[in-house]
């Protein structure tokens, strides 16, 4: 969708996107010629259809694209993490640290399965007696599962 400032005959630029509120996004455009601003207020169906494409909406840090439709994850909360225990609950597992390099690799996993994959890898590490997950542990998990 594009917006045109009719008096200036100039394409409008996306300025900001308000976070979803009861399924509605507030997307502000302005005309670079006259400065006139307008807001597109989506209904829940419109918001959902765009989110379903797996894209993000809004200006990015460079000011010319992207940002947020919420968490930045296109599949937020889609799959609960199997066997995840909240801190303070009975049977809370020993905390396992992730090195920066291992965490960077974790980011390669699509967001929709990341929580489950993380929990499974932490369980694998605990069973090996490791309290820190580094790239070596990840390689060992790959070998263990015949990958």
């Amino acid at each position: 969708m594009k917006f045109l400032c009719v008096p200036c005959d100039s394409p409008m630029k996306l300025q900001s996107v308000g976070p979803p509120e009861r399924g509605s996004l507030s997307v502000v455009y302005s005309c670079p010629e006259c400065g006139y601003e307008m807001a597109m207020l989506t209904n829940a169906y419109e918001t959902q259809v765009v989110q379903s494409l797996g894209v993000k909406i809004g200006p990015d840090n460079d000011g010319n694209a992207l940002s947020t439709t919420g968490s930045g994850c296109p599949f937020p909360g889609m799959i609960p993490a199997k066997g995840e225990t909240r801190p303070g609950e009975a049977g809370e597992p020993t905390p396992v640290r992730w090195t920066a390099a291992a965490e960077a690799r974790l980011a390669n996993i699509p967001a929709f399965v990341r929580p489950m994959a993380k929990t499974g890898i932490e369980r694998f590490a605990r069973e090996k007696g490791a309290l820190e997950i580094d790239e070596q542990i990840l390689d060992e998990a790959r070998d263990f599962f015949g990958m």
Partner: protein, 295 residues
């Protein structure tokens, strides 16, 4: 006044660019895959998943590098049948590794991460209106899987499609003209009718139709060591023509029903561990015809 196509870009949302980037990541991820084969039908319950897995096994036994993508996200069955239920998805330096079967077939199935007691669920802003967006979301998910996992160098990537003639065409559109289709039917007029609709729909597009397999083509009785009729069809399979009427594509073979095969599927045991049986020989024949069709 300017019109839509007079304006370059979209003012900053980059939605079209992001969709193009997603497609580019998918193309890059599949660059090392020689053949893409989608196993579909249109009809449910005809044995698409079973045939996909065991054809993959027969092709793997020929030394080919094979992977299966269980595209039935809502009713995934490959994880159980391939013995990769509970397998971890472990991140590599760039892509995510795929679990493998005992005989070396890489398998992606949502069944590896979603227990059978749970259903695939998406968070939504449009509560109670999932018919307006759910298919779009599922295809975005398929794109994410294709782009993120390590498919590497493969001879064949087989897609196990969900049922629905219209879904089959949607997958053809999404996967693109590189993907060839193998359809599965059973010897019932109802199933053939639905598969004929899939043939008609797919024939309008650029995708290649390799042919079809008639599954459950008789029942293999181990006591009698004979194949007996399972369905009473008014139009039995015509061996001379190589096809039953109504399906104007080649028949790659017929596969009898064998309860032992069903037990293997439930327990995740590869077909290669079954002794030589009519069903094993039939699957091997179909695998050979499939290869011939691809080359």
């Amino acid at each position: 006044m300017k019109r839509y196509h007079d304006i370059v870009g979209d003012g900053g949302s980059r939605i079209l660019e992001q969709v193009a980037e997603q497609r580019s990541r998918i193309t890059d991820g599949l660059a090392g895959v020689r053949h893409l084969v989608a196993v579909g039908s249109g009809k449910g319950g005809v044995g698409k998943s079973t045939l996909t897995l065991h054809l993959a096994g027969a092709l793997r036994a020929r030394g080919l590098r094979i992977a299966i993508l269980d595209a039935d996200f809502n009713g995934p069955s490959q994880a159980r049948m391939a013995g990769v239920q509970g397998a971890l998805f472990v991140p590599g330096s760039h892509k995510v590794s795929l679990p493998r079967t005992r005989n070396g077939i890489a398998v992606f199935s949502m069944g590896s991460v979603i227990p059978e007691s749970e259903a695939l669920d998406f968070e939504s802003a449009a509560h109670g209106e999932s018919h307006t967006w759910r298919a779009t979301r599922e295809f975005a998910l398929l794109g994410e899987v294709l782009a993120s996992f390590e498919w590497g160098a493969l001879d064949l990537l087989m897609f196990d499609l969900p049922p629905g003639a219209e879904r089959t065409v949607q997958y053809a559109d999404f996967l693109g003209p590189r993907t060839s289709f193998l359809l599965v039917t059973i010897p019932s007029e109802v199933a053939r009718g639905v598969v004929a609709r899939s043939v008609a729909a797919l024939s309008k597009g650029p995708n290649r139709l390799l042919g079809y397999v008639e599954n459950m083509s008789g029942y293999y009785c181990r006591d009698c060591n004979a194949i007996k009729p399972l369905f009473v069809s008014p139009e039995p399979f015509d061996a001379a023509q190589g096809k039953p009427s109504g399906l104007e594509i080649p028949c790659l073979g017929t596969v009898p029903f064998d309860p032992e095969l069903a037990r293997h599927c439930d327990q995740g045991i590869p077909l290669s561990e079954m002794p030589q049986t009519p069903v094993g020989q039939a699957l091997d024949h179909v695998a050979q015809r499939l290869l011939e069709g691809l080359t």
